[in-house]
Point group: C2
């Protein structure tokens, strides 16, 4: 168990003062070429790595951002968000601290406390369970970035516009002759738990569907909307999309195409279709939303894609951009796209 070399070790070995070593290491200030050499050599020899804690303490920066998601196990969408954030953070030399509240208020509160203790430079979240939990975060001046949802008042926002993707998706369906189209809407949170009111973003998706559909010349009467949560309270439960899919597909006026509010809902819908002997896309066309597990499903699912990479970059950028006084929090808006795969076909019959 060798000890980690400190800057003092490096300085000693190079026969210079710690200050000079620091200057070389940060490559600022004047240092003679000779000393520079010696310090660099000493760094090599000792395998010196800076101690971030010490640096943080001194600079009051932690080089760390906290990320709050609900649960990627319940909804694969969060896997993609998490991945995108990580890549963007890395690029800015930041490390990410994560936790999942998994719809448990205590988890959220405690996790945020932990973030404060770690002096994260910002908190990024996707779906604040209880916005009041962010009060201590605000109190110590940590900026908050909210992705997609709008629950926390004092937060920079990464907004996602469902319309471009929705438009392309509906255009595809209409071109293939579909007229009776359903939207399997989701809402964040779980019905029997707190925090399950439909959020702006969920309404947004639904409204986007209705508005774009009408703009495409579809009759409002031929549009069907099913509402409910995205995921289930327990991993033991049948998928929400299966339960609601059964209802949707056995109704008197069965839609010929369904757009789901998430790939997860679409996955359940595919199960319902299979159970009912409906072939996709021959008997029923299905389009997902998010483009998370779309490519893993059978058939590979056409989906309205979230711009994950751009979301990650925007979130990190907002996290680091100082709150310009009086300016109020910033906001970025990003567009969805449509990724056609194998789950959309011509209208049957």
């Amino acid at each position: 168990m060798k000890q980690k070399a400190t800057m003092a070790d490096v300085a000693r070995l190079a026969g210079v003062s710690p200050a000079t070593a620091a200057r070389v290491i940060h490559n600022n200030g004047y240092v003679s070429d000779e000393n520079k050499e010696r310090v660099l050599a000493a760094v090599q020899e000792t395998g010196y790595r800076p101690n971030i804690q010490a640096r943080s303490l001194r600079n009051s920066r932690s080089y760390t951002v906290g990320v709050v998601l609900s649960s990627a196990v319940q909804n694969p969408f969060f896997t993609n968000i998490s991945h995108a954030l990580r890549i963007a953070a890395n690029r800015s030399g930041l490390s990410l601290l994560n936790f999942n509240h998994n719809y448990d208020a205590r988890m959220e509160r405690d996790g945020l406390q932990r973030f404060i203790e770690h002096n994260v430079e910002a908190v990024i979240l996707c779906h604040a369970l209880a916005p009041e939990h962010l009060k201590p975060v605000h109190a110590v001046g940590i900026p908050v970035v909210e992705i997609e949802r709008t629950r926390v008042s004092e937060a920079a926002r990464v907004k996602i516009d469902p319309r471009p993707g929705m438009q392309a998706a509906l255009k595809d369906l209409v071109a293939k002759g579909h007229r009776r189209i359903a939207f399997l809407a989701g809402m964040a949170g779980i019905t029997n738990r707190p925090g399950s009111t439909p959020l702006d973003s969920d309404h947004d998706r639904r409204n986007a569907f209705l508005e774009v559909a009408q703009a495409c010349g579809l009759d409002a009467a031929s549009l069907i909307v099913s509402e409910g949560p995205y995921d289930t309270p327990s991993v033991e439960d049948p998928l929400e999309g299966l339960t609601r899919g059964r209802a949707l597909l056995t109704a008197a006026e069965r839609p010929t195409a369904v757009i789901a509010g998430s790939d997860l809902l679409a996955a359940g819908l595919l199960q319902a279709a299979l159970e009912l002997g409906l072939r996709v896309p021959e008997d029923l066309s299905v389009i997902g939303y998010d483009d998370s597990i779309a490519r893993f499903l059978a058939p590979a699912l056409s989906s309205i894609r979230q711009p994950f990479e751009a979301i990650g970059e925007a979130a990190i950028e907002l996290a680091l951009s100082p709150i310009t006084a009086g300016q109020g929090p910033q906001s970025r808006s990003l567009a969805t796209t449509y990724v056609p795969r194998q789950s959309v076909g011509p209208v049957p019959g």
Copy 2:
């Protein structure tokens, strides 16, 4: 933007010395009831939260563990691992720093460097790309825990025994009359990149299949093994399970049941079956491995389940258990189980 209160602030407000405040906050040492009250009140009033950086610097502990995975976007298995680790870590008051190397050697090297800088108390990893990248980690005495794979020599291990789950799965198939059974083996890494040699754990799964099958009285000649990677170099590529599934299912002697080396491979196989007009489970029985996305597929996939919760707990426990001198690294072994769902049926015909 209020500033975070420090312990000195608390002490001043309570009219005591920082040392006394510390004693109250850590609830150790003798403090008069009166002073205790006053300090506690001051903590409340200021909303004091300890500064972990400062504490770390002083205690040389970081309360942080680093986790290296490949990519949960490519393989959903890692989502479950990541989730389990997070829960276990939380319980021990640890925070997790994550990164995904995504089969990029530079990412792995740089990420581990970052972990060293953060003074993580341990590094947990699932699939070391280049074991030599861990040398600096060893050099500074950070313990390493390896989950499932065995690539790093000096590491504590969480081993997973595929046999119990495999046994139950094969028993189910045999009871339903299956005799010609294939195993769609995976190997970590990607064929056209470094680090793609089949690993012990992958061999382990395949060998478990062969051994258990023969113990079940199956004729070796009726067993088929297909080998290849788990995932594809790019998210654009068709799933590996689809490509290999096509070959497997169009061969002269088509198996009546397939066990896949991962749910991801099984997902591709379901796509192949659909494409070829084979119904699951009527024409073909399919069993996955991991139990990651199994419940999202259509039909819901029977799967050999990894004991995720136990893996998370064991990994964190090993991460924190000091390396008993001379003892060599510890190891824990955990058993898989079998989760039957809807993708297994009686042998056709």
